[in-house]
Amino acid sequence: MAIYPLKETKQPPKSQTKAVLWLKDNLFSSISNAALTFIALYVIYLLLPPILNWIIFDANFDLTADNQSCGRDGMCWAFINANLKMFIYGFYPQEELWRVNTMFGLIAALIVFGSLIKKSQYRVHYIIGSFLIYPVVAFVLLYGGLGLEIVETDKWGGLTLTVVVATIGIVASFPLGILLALGRQSEMRVVKFISVIYIEFVRGVPLITILFMASVVLPLFFSAGMDFDKLLRAVIGITLFQTAYIAEVIRGGLQAIPKGQYEAADAAGLSFVQKTMLVILPQALKISIPNIVGSFIALFKDTTLLLIIGLFDMLAIVGAASSNSNWLGRETEGYVFVAMIIWVILYSMSRYSKRLEVRFSTEHK
């Protein structure tokens, strides 16, 4: 038998620079990988220059140009400039625009202030308070009342409408989705049965059907005098739709929680509500963050379907703006611009979800 002395720890060999090593490992690790790298580079070469040329290099940045002088070689930024207000506010009255701005400004201020008091013991109160009070303030600002002139919802449009509908949909569907997911996991048969029926029914129907039902079919059931707002109907439809999806996402998280966690909480004497709120949901929601945000991103994109029932979200505004006789034939500009804005918003959401994941991860520190 032999005895082996302990060996010293050494640094890894430094034969190549990091950049070369990275290229070799990631882009040219095998012949097929190298081939794919070259194909991808070729595709980028084909696609990227024309796009950049159109948006930037051949574009006309003269913001005072009209449809004639703007030219057709590249993007006409004058069109965007001339219709910017419409893209953002829809047909909201000019002199009342400050109300929309105040609403957006308030939410930005709330978020900034919230991140400043991260360590404060009143943080939870602040968040809950904001969630209760802000919607009321935002509603009064947008719709009117309390001395403000009423602006009917058919005047709302553009980015404002998109953000309003998506936000209400997200904020309302989240707690409802949690309840529904818990309902589907429930040992009470009736609750479980109703939850399953609801989820499977809603998931089996396209959103567009639900929107049509909400805007066309629903009024048939009410007497003529009881006509409630088209936007409200659409928001309710979207929320009900989103609730089913969020419920399924959260159910996935709930199912990933080991049985031992339930048992440990039970054995400690926690009640059902305590067990759910303190032990199960925090873990289930944490696991579900990427999928929850994914679902919210899908919802945000789905708001473009409001166009179908005659509400003018940002995408629908493009059609309205480019059918103006002054700017005929500028749809491309509009759609590219709207795509850029939506991309920025959704990419921020996705980055934020990444940050949340890191912040809540206690699994592998």
Partner: protein
């Protein structure tokens, strides 16, 4: 099976803190526990062993109602376990359990794992619960890890935290469900040491374990289960020195020959 009188076992005639009467449990058609009768006195240290699938874990999980049973009765400290949620919570607030896989709450720091039940079930203030938790962590030797998260600790440390968590509610009874079975060999000793310390302090303990050294050292009574029944129970001396049933002899031969 030999029925020993209380006197022979060195027990008093009163004060049964756990009383299991004619307990029967089925999983579907499988008869998991058959006519179990068991009395545990306050302060007694019971070790239950037996081959896997013998029903030993199921039995102690019935005591805090993690498992439902179909026939018989279990009375814990004067409260009979029924479907009544209030009674179940009453029993659970006096009985703590340590699991094979620790079951710490991974989203809470160690200290918050300990203070959860005291704050929410026993209505202690945050400060009280924290002080007690730190004392207990000190006792199991991991006070300096209080702010870490469970997954940053080794298995042995996690199990010691789990024991501290179980003690944090000042329970009358501690149930151990194979507390060392999921641990690496070099970590078993540190957990057993904590359990031995605990046993000396006079708390009632019911341990399902294969650690025969632990049984010999601290148990008042060792119970052997097989096929859902109690086959033999005795004082550790007689249990290991002079096993009566053939099945127990075979079992002891198998685990002690390793």
């Amino acid at each position: 099976m030999s029925e020993l009188t209380n006197k022979e076992m060195g027990r008093k005639d009163c004060c049964d803190i756990i009383e299991v009467k004619a307990l029967n449990k089925w999983y579907g058609d499988f008869h998991a526990l058959k006519e179990i009768n068991l009395k545990v006195q306050e302060g007694e240290i019971i070790v239950i062993c037996g081959p896997s699938g013998s029903g030993k874990s199921t039995l102690i999980r019935c005591v805090n109602f993690l498992e439902k049973f179909q026939e018989g009765s279990i009375t814990v400290d004067g409260t009979e376990l029924t479907d009544d949620v209030k009674k179940i919570r009453q029993v659970r607030s006096e009985v703590s359990m340590v699991f094979q896989h620790f079951n710490l709450f991974p989203h809470l720091s160690i200290i918050n794992n300990l203070t959860l039940a005291p704050i929410w079930v026993h209505n202690e203030t945050k400060k009280q619960a924290r002080e007690k938790a730190l004392k207990l962590l000190d006792r199991v030797g991991i006070k300096d890890q209080a702010e870490k998260y469970p997954n940053q600790l080794s298995g042995g440390q996690q199990q010691r935290v789990a024991i501290a968590r179980a003690l944090c509610t000042s329970p009358k009874i501690m149930l151990f469900d194979e507390p060392t079975s999921a641990l690496d060999p070099e970590m078993i000793a540190e957990v057993l040491d904590v359990m031995i310390e605990l046993a000396k302090e006079g708390i009632t303990m019911v341990c399902v374990t294969h650690e025969m050294g632990f049984a010999k050292k601290v148990a008042d009574r060792v119970i052997f289960m097989d096929e859902g029944q109690i086959i033999e129970q005795n004082t550790p001396g007689k249990f290991f020195g002079n096993p009566e049933s053939a099945r127990l002899q075979l079992f002891l031969d198998q685990i002690l020959s390793q």
